[in-house]
């Protein structure tokens, strides 16, 4: 049963990933990205990371992809681009070789180290606490400074984006 869930969710993840790369219409690519994100969320549930699964759906599928679709619609770039035009003829084969090499090397390392990652099960919630309680205790004790710094990061990102996309009225008037 768990293997069946793994296979189905992995199919979602890989099909969505290939869809992002291969679909010529940006809207279709964004929807393929949603498929991948849902597949990863299913994996999170299977790994008993329930909070991260919920955040994955809410933040990624709910906010980030909607932002992508919003920009696509706002700018009107939702028409298919012609993928047969290649400015640099060697770019695609080289990119595919490099991508396959990265994946292959990591898979080789993982397979080689599979005895080190011995397949024993050490469940995180051994002491009866739920995943959310464990995560909250870790986040607000050991990593509380990093947590506060993320709020600074978000403020800077929002302010920077507003400054970046705003029209400078003084320059227009001159």
């Amino acid at each position: 049963m768990e293997l069946l869930v793994f296979i189905l969710a992995s199919a979602m993840v890989l099909a969505g990933g290939l869809g992002v790369v291969l679909r010529s219409n940006p809207v279709h690519a964004a929807l393929s990205l949603v498929l991948t994100l849902f597949g990863v969320a299913v994996h999170f549930v299977a790994l008993e990371a329930h909070f991260l699964a919920a955040v994955q759906i809410i933040v990624y599928a709910g906010a980030i992809v909607v932002l992508f679709l919003f920009v696509i619609m706002l700018l009107g770039v939702d028409k298919s681009e012609d993928l047969s035009i290649e400015p640099f003829p060697i770019q695609r084969p080289v990119a595919i070789v490099i991508g396959a090499a990265v994946a292959g090397l990591v898979i080789a390392a993982v397979v080689r180290a599979r005895d080190t990652i011995a397949e024993t099960d050490t469940p995180l919630a051994a002491d009866g606490d739920s995943n959310i309680q464990l995560l909250a205790r870790n986040l607000f004790s050991d990593h509380v400074f990093a947590f506060e710094f993320t709020s600074i990061l978000l403020i800077v990102a929002v302010a920077g984006t507003v400054v970046l996309t705003r029209k400078d009225k003084r320059k227009v008037e001159q």
Binding site: L3, F6, V20, Y60, F68, I98, A103, E119, L135
Partner: protein, 109 residues
Amino acid sequence: MSAAMLGAVTPTTTYYLILSALLFGIGAAGLMIRRNPLIMFMCIELMLNAVNLSFVALAVRFGNIDGQTAVFFVMVVAAAEVVVGLGLIISLLKRRPGANADDLAELRG
């Protein structure tokens, strides 16, 4: 493979790491193949998700919740990065519709 065999085998950490490597490879290849800046951003999201998956798998394997905390921070940084990146893309595409990644040099000055 029969249904009984499907029930007997459970996916191990190695399976998740292999899936994560495949997804990362797809994202990396896509980032180098595509020239539309929006699609390139989606490929970066694919790679971030691949790393998140391996973080969670290893956090569960080693019984250490720190891995899941790291995923939380990766998600926050990804959200901030998408906001800034889409701002750049908007200011590029408003100036020149149909621009590709090479035209980002136009934003200089």
